[in-house]
Assembly symmetry: C2
Homo-oligomer: 150 residues x 2
DNA sequence: TTGACTTCATTGCAAATGCAACGAATATTG
DNA sequence: CAATATTCGTTGCATTTGCAATGAAGTCAA
């Protein structure tokens, strides 16, 4: 009771710490698909995010992606460069604002996505099935977390 | 309808893709606390995890931490080295099995944790409050994800 | 006891990351 | 219009990461 006073650590268990749990769960969830993308197609997660965004948003700048896809602009820029080198996307300078770089899928990139997307869709279905009735609860909570102003 | 066949991307929205959502939510959640730990105490997330584990598990080897805390052993090893350099933990070779390195908090490390833990506890409370009735749903789903065999 | 196998922690190396700085282009202000 | 400030994308640099390889220590079986 009269313990030093210092060194008396409060009760705390990492295993019940939500930031930790969420991080580990997210890693575990992403890993399976990420590994497939990497080994079968040579695509990293940042590259995958750029590709997806380009798939349903025609011409997009690096800045657009930075904002919508939760990645630093340098990360986006480098992912885009790798994708360009691999021939999956093309960069073009925007005529109206020559600071902007317009990114767009090449035919080869579209072909790649026609293979990647079905995998992702199946993966999502798998997750929802696995989670069963807890899925909605998860999604609602995430929505709340992502929606926070801050 | 008779579109090329290639280039016809299936419907898919990254913003509703659970692995992505979970990753972004986890990052957002961790960031606030991680920034505090970094700027105010010079502690990184891997270091923080090692410290927490040492706090309620006396003498622990690198391997123990690797298994329980979801980090690669090299990551654990380097985090431990940095913590040792900073004087927060001590390494000692296990007499019974001299391959093992026993890690333990120093008094300075305990003092540090007596500052860090209250922050974490308050942070957790904040999260639970912010999430309100959606917290349980989140926690159940994470439990399910983390509990999966594989 | 010896030799082959396994386990543990560290380290080397190439790649990825975050951040700040930069140059080029545009916007804004006086 | 000129001068200043801001935005955009890239790059340099130091740090971190993941993975494989290493060496030291222990285990097991013949």
């Amino acid at each position: 009771m009269s313990e030093k006073g210092r060194g008396t650590a409060p009760e705390f268990d990492l295993m019940h710490f939500t930031p930790y749990r969420l991080t580990v769960a997210a890693q575990k969830l992403s890993d399976g698909l990420a590994r497939q993308y990497r080994t079968r197609f040579g695509i990293s997660v940042p590259e995958w995010r750029v590709l997806v965004h380009l798939t349903h948003s025609g011409n997009v700048s690096v800045r657009d992606i930075e904002m919508r896809v939760a990645m630093e602009k340098s990360k986006v820029s480098r992912a885009a460069s790798r994708l360009e080198d691999a021939g999956y996307i093309a960069k073009r300078i925007n005529d109206k604002d020559r600071r902007l770089v317009q990114l767009a899928l090449t035919p080869k990139g579209e072909e790649l996505m026609s293979k990647l997307l079905p995998l992702a869709i199946a993966f999502q279905a798998e997750i929802e099935e696995k989670l069963g009735d807890t899925f909605k609860g998860l999604d609602d909570a995430i929505e709340k977390l992502l929606g926070e102003e801050q």
